[in-house]
Protein backbone atom coordinates (compact mmCIF):
# COMPACT_ATOMS: atom_id res chain seq x y z
CA UNK A 1 0.00 0.00 0.00
CA UNK A 2 1.29 3.50 -0.68
CA UNK A 3 0.72 6.45 1.65
CA UNK A 4 -2.57 7.49 0.11
CA UNK A 5 -4.08 4.01 0.00
CA UNK A 6 -2.93 3.38 3.55
CA UNK A 7 -4.42 6.55 5.03
CA UNK A 8 -7.68 5.83 3.18
CA UNK A 9 -7.67 2.28 4.48
CA UNK A 10 -6.96 3.48 8.02
CA UNK A 11 -9.69 6.11 8.03
CA UNK A 12 -12.13 3.57 6.59
CA UNK A 13 -11.43 0.82 9.10
CA UNK A 14 -10.55 2.79 12.24
CA UNK A 15 -13.03 2.39 15.07
CA UNK A 16 -15.42 5.33 15.17
CA UNK A 17 -16.88 7.19 18.14
CA UNK A 18 -20.27 5.90 19.16
CA UNK A 19 -22.31 8.89 18.04
CA UNK A 20 -25.59 8.23 19.80
CA UNK A 21 -24.30 7.28 23.22
CA UNK A 22 -21.68 10.06 23.39
CA UNK A 23 -24.21 12.65 22.16
CA UNK A 24 -26.73 11.49 24.72
CA UNK A 25 -24.13 11.72 27.49
CA UNK A 26 -23.08 15.21 26.38
CA UNK A 27 -26.73 16.29 26.16
CA UNK A 28 -27.87 15.29 29.61
CA UNK A 29 -24.71 16.26 31.48
CA UNK A 30 -24.47 19.61 29.66
CA UNK A 31 -28.19 20.25 30.22
CA UNK A 32 -27.85 19.37 33.89
CA UNK A 33 -24.90 21.73 34.40
CA UNK A 34 -26.91 24.55 32.78
CA UNK A 35 -29.88 23.76 35.03
CA UNK A 36 -27.62 23.97 38.07
CA UNK A 37 -26.52 27.38 36.81
CA UNK A 38 -30.12 28.44 36.32
CA UNK A 39 -31.05 27.33 39.82
CA UNK A 40 -28.16 29.35 41.27
CA UNK A 41 -29.38 32.38 39.30
CA UNK A 42 -32.97 31.90 40.47
CA UNK A 43 -31.91 31.51 44.09
CA UNK A 44 -29.80 34.65 44.07
CA UNK A 45 -32.56 36.56 42.30
CA UNK A 46 -35.05 35.51 44.97
CA UNK A 47 -32.66 36.50 47.75
CA UNK A 48 -31.51 39.80 46.25
CA UNK A 49 -34.40 41.09 44.16
CA UNK A 50 -32.89 44.57 43.72
CA UNK A 51 -29.65 43.51 42.06
CA UNK A 52 -29.62 43.85 38.26
CA UNK A 53 -29.63 40.66 36.16
CA UNK A 54 -26.16 41.15 34.72
CA UNK A 55 -24.65 41.24 38.20
CA UNK A 56 -26.53 38.12 39.19
CA UNK A 57 -25.14 36.36 36.12
CA UNK A 58 -21.67 37.41 37.25
CA UNK A 59 -22.27 35.85 40.68
CA UNK A 60 -23.64 32.72 38.99
CA UNK A 61 -20.50 32.48 36.84
CA UNK A 62 -18.40 32.88 39.96
CA UNK A 63 -20.21 30.04 41.71
CA UNK A 64 -20.03 27.77 38.64
CA UNK A 65 -16.29 28.39 38.30
CA UNK A 66 -15.89 27.64 41.98
CA UNK A 67 -17.75 24.35 41.50
CA UNK A 68 -15.70 23.44 38.41
CA UNK A 69 -12.41 24.17 40.14
CA UNK A 70 -13.45 22.28 43.26
CA UNK A 71 -14.47 19.17 41.33
CA UNK A 72 -11.17 19.35 39.42
CA UNK A 73 -9.18 19.64 42.64
CA UNK A 74 -11.00 16.64 44.09
CA UNK A 75 -10.22 14.58 40.99
CA UNK A 76 -13.84 14.20 39.92
CA UNK A 77 -14.10 16.47 36.88
CA UNK A 78 -11.90 14.37 34.61
CA UNK A 79 -14.15 11.38 35.27
CA UNK A 80 -17.18 13.44 34.30
CA UNK A 81 -15.27 14.59 31.21
CA UNK A 82 -14.38 11.05 30.22
CA UNK A 83 -18.07 10.17 30.18
CA UNK A 84 -19.67 13.40 29.00
CA UNK A 85 -17.09 14.87 26.60
CA UNK A 86 -18.59 18.07 25.19
CA UNK A 87 -21.19 18.08 27.96
CA UNK A 88 -18.59 19.04 30.53
CA UNK A 89 -16.10 20.87 28.27
CA UNK A 90 -18.39 23.58 26.91
CA UNK A 91 -20.04 24.90 30.10
CA UNK A 92 -18.03 27.50 32.05
CA UNK A 93 -17.12 24.75 34.54
CA UNK A 94 -15.05 23.21 31.73
CA UNK A 95 -13.16 26.49 31.41
CA UNK A 96 -12.46 26.36 35.14
CA UNK A 97 -11.29 22.76 34.72
CA UNK A 98 -8.90 23.75 31.94
CA UNK A 99 -7.33 26.41 34.17
CA UNK A 100 -7.16 24.40 37.40
CA UNK A 101 -5.86 21.14 35.93
CA UNK A 102 -2.58 22.46 34.45
CA UNK A 103 -2.03 24.57 37.59
CA UNK A 104 -2.21 21.40 39.70
CA UNK A 105 -0.23 19.32 37.22
CA UNK A 106 2.72 21.65 36.83
CA UNK A 107 3.07 22.81 40.41
CA UNK A 108 5.84 20.22 40.85
CA UNK A 109 8.02 22.41 38.64
CA UNK A 110 7.67 25.18 41.21
CA UNK A 111 5.13 27.85 42.11
CA UNK A 112 6.45 30.53 39.75
CA UNK A 113 7.61 28.60 36.70
CA UNK A 114 5.25 25.69 37.09
CA UNK A 115 1.94 26.59 38.63
CA UNK A 116 1.75 30.26 37.67
CA UNK A 117 3.38 30.24 34.27
CA UNK A 118 1.66 27.10 32.99
CA UNK A 119 -1.80 27.86 34.36
CA UNK A 120 -3.06 28.98 30.95
CA UNK A 121 -1.45 26.39 28.67
CA UNK A 122 -4.89 25.10 27.75
CA UNK A 123 -7.21 28.02 28.52
CA UNK A 124 -4.86 30.62 27.01
CA UNK A 125 -6.34 30.36 23.50
CA UNK A 126 -9.79 31.05 24.93
CA UNK A 127 -8.72 34.32 26.55
CA UNK A 128 -6.63 35.40 23.56
CA UNK A 129 -9.25 34.65 20.92
CA UNK A 130 -12.03 36.11 23.04
CA UNK A 131 -10.23 39.37 23.73
CA UNK A 132 -8.91 39.75 20.19
CA UNK A 133 -12.37 39.15 18.75
CA UNK A 134 -14.07 41.51 21.18
CA UNK A 135 -11.61 44.35 20.45
CA UNK A 136 -12.19 43.83 16.75
CA UNK A 137 -15.93 43.98 17.28
CA UNK A 138 -15.49 47.14 19.39
CA UNK A 139 -13.47 48.90 16.69
CA UNK A 140 -15.96 47.93 13.98
CA UNK A 141 -18.77 49.15 16.21
CA UNK A 142 -16.96 52.45 16.74
CA UNK A 143 -16.40 52.95 13.00
CA UNK A 144 -20.01 52.11 12.22
CA UNK A 145 -21.20 54.49 14.94
CA UNK A 146 -19.25 57.39 13.34
CA UNK A 147 -21.59 57.44 10.37
Amino acid sequence: MNKKEYSEYVSKTAPKSKHLSTMFAAFWVGGLICCIGQSIFDTIQALLPLVPDDDIWAITTLVMIFLGSTLTALGVYDKIGRYAGGGSIIPITGFANSVTSPAMEYKREGIIFGLMSKMFVIAGPIIVSGIAASVAVGICYYIVSLF
Binding site: H19, C35, A133, G138, S145
Partner: protein
Protein backbone atom coordinates in the same frame (compact mmCIF):
# COMPACT_ATOMS: atom_id res chain seq x y z
CA UNK B 1 -46.61 27.64 39.11
CA UNK B 2 -44.78 24.35 39.53
CA UNK B 3 -45.46 23.54 35.89
CA UNK B 4 -44.12 26.94 34.88
CA UNK B 5 -40.86 26.34 36.74
CA UNK B 6 -40.62 22.85 35.28
CA UNK B 7 -41.04 24.18 31.74
CA UNK B 8 -38.52 26.92 32.39
CA UNK B 9 -35.93 24.39 33.48
CA UNK B 10 -36.84 22.10 30.62
CA UNK B 11 -36.04 24.99 28.26
CA UNK B 12 -32.67 25.54 29.95
CA UNK B 13 -31.95 21.83 29.88
CA UNK B 14 -32.83 21.44 26.21
CA UNK B 15 -30.93 24.51 24.99
CA UNK B 16 -27.84 23.87 27.15
CA UNK B 17 -27.83 20.18 26.36
CA UNK B 18 -28.30 20.94 22.67
CA UNK B 19 -25.26 23.23 22.59
CA UNK B 20 -23.15 20.63 24.35
CA UNK B 21 -24.41 17.97 21.97
CA UNK B 22 -23.34 20.13 19.02
CA UNK B 23 -19.89 20.30 20.60
CA UNK B 24 -19.87 16.53 21.01
CA UNK B 25 -20.68 16.06 17.32
CA UNK B 26 -17.67 18.28 16.52
CA UNK B 27 -15.48 16.21 18.87
CA UNK B 28 -16.66 12.92 17.35
CA UNK B 29 -16.29 13.93 13.74
CA UNK B 30 -13.17 16.13 13.79
CA UNK B 31 -11.29 14.72 16.83
CA UNK B 32 -10.95 18.30 18.08
CA UNK B 33 -9.37 18.86 21.46
CA UNK B 34 -11.05 20.69 24.29
CA UNK B 35 -9.24 24.02 23.78
CA UNK B 36 -10.40 24.23 20.15
CA UNK B 37 -13.96 23.36 21.04
CA UNK B 38 -13.98 26.05 23.71
CA UNK B 39 -12.57 28.63 21.27
CA UNK B 40 -15.17 27.79 18.62
CA UNK B 41 -18.08 28.13 21.00
CA UNK B 42 -16.64 31.29 22.50
CA UNK B 43 -16.42 32.83 19.02
CA UNK B 44 -19.98 31.68 18.35
CA UNK B 45 -21.04 33.76 21.37
CA UNK B 46 -18.96 36.69 20.10
CA UNK B 47 -20.59 36.59 16.66
CA UNK B 48 -24.11 36.26 18.02
CA UNK B 49 -23.60 39.20 20.37
CA UNK B 50 -21.91 41.33 17.70
CA UNK B 51 -24.97 41.00 15.50
CA UNK B 52 -27.26 41.59 18.44
CA UNK B 53 -28.82 38.14 18.31
CA UNK B 54 -27.53 36.82 21.60
CA UNK B 55 -30.13 38.46 23.82
CA UNK B 56 -32.95 36.90 21.83
CA UNK B 57 -31.38 33.46 22.24
CA UNK B 58 -30.67 34.10 25.92
CA UNK B 59 -34.26 35.17 26.58
CA UNK B 60 -35.33 31.73 25.53
CA UNK B 61 -32.42 29.57 26.70
CA UNK B 62 -31.43 31.54 29.84
CA UNK B 63 -28.66 29.61 31.65
CA UNK B 64 -28.73 27.17 28.73
CA UNK B 65 -26.74 29.72 26.69
CA UNK B 66 -25.25 31.80 29.50
CA UNK B 67 -23.45 28.95 31.23
CA UNK B 68 -21.84 27.44 28.13
CA UNK B 69 -18.70 29.30 27.09
CA UNK B 70 -20.71 31.27 24.47
CA UNK B 71 -22.02 33.32 27.40
CA UNK B 72 -18.45 34.32 28.14
CA UNK B 73 -17.94 35.51 24.55
CA UNK B 74 -21.15 37.47 24.62
CA UNK B 75 -20.22 39.21 27.90
CA UNK B 76 -16.90 40.25 26.37
CA UNK B 77 -18.59 41.83 23.37
CA UNK B 78 -21.40 43.34 25.41
CA UNK B 79 -18.83 45.00 27.66
CA UNK B 80 -16.93 46.33 24.65
CA UNK B 81 -20.02 47.74 22.96
CA UNK B 82 -21.26 49.46 26.11
CA UNK B 83 -17.82 50.95 26.70
CA UNK B 84 -17.49 52.14 23.09
CA UNK B 85 -20.78 53.99 23.50
CA UNK B 86 -19.41 55.74 26.59
CA UNK B 87 -15.70 56.26 25.88
CA UNK B 88 -15.42 56.03 22.10
CA UNK B 89 -12.48 54.03 20.78
CA UNK B 90 -10.83 53.46 24.17
CA UNK B 91 -13.86 51.42 25.13
CA UNK B 92 -12.90 48.76 22.60
CA UNK B 93 -9.85 48.06 24.74
CA UNK B 94 -11.27 48.71 28.19
CA UNK B 95 -14.71 47.16 28.06
CA UNK B 96 -14.11 43.48 27.39
CA UNK B 97 -11.98 42.54 30.35
CA UNK B 98 -14.13 44.64 32.66
CA UNK B 99 -17.19 42.59 31.90
CA UNK B 100 -15.56 39.19 32.30
CA UNK B 101 -13.27 40.18 35.15
CA UNK B 102 -15.24 38.17 37.69
CA UNK B 103 -14.96 34.95 35.70
CA UNK B 104 -11.27 35.22 34.85
CA UNK B 105 -10.27 36.38 38.30
CA UNK B 106 -12.28 33.62 39.93
CA UNK B 107 -10.71 30.99 37.67
CA UNK B 108 -7.21 32.24 38.43
CA UNK B 109 -7.80 32.65 42.14
CA UNK B 110 -9.48 29.29 42.80
CA UNK B 111 -6.99 27.48 40.57
CA UNK B 112 -4.09 29.05 42.42
CA UNK B 113 -5.44 28.15 45.83
CA UNK B 114 -6.45 24.61 44.86
CA UNK B 115 -3.16 23.93 43.07
CA UNK B 116 -1.31 24.90 46.24
CA UNK B 117 -3.36 22.43 48.24
CA UNK B 118 -4.12 19.52 45.89
CA UNK B 119 -1.99 17.37 43.62
CA UNK B 120 -3.21 15.42 40.59
CA UNK B 121 -4.78 12.12 41.53
CA UNK B 122 -3.62 8.78 40.21
CA UNK B 123 -5.95 7.48 37.54
CA UNK B 124 -7.60 4.13 38.03
CA UNK B 125 -9.59 2.15 35.53
Amino acid sequence: MALEIFLRYLQVFAVGGGICMLGQILINTTKMTSARILVIFLLLGVVLEAFGLFDAVADFGMAGVKIPICGFGSSLVKGVITAVMEDDIMGAFAGGMKSVSVGITAAIFFSFIYALIFSPHSKKV
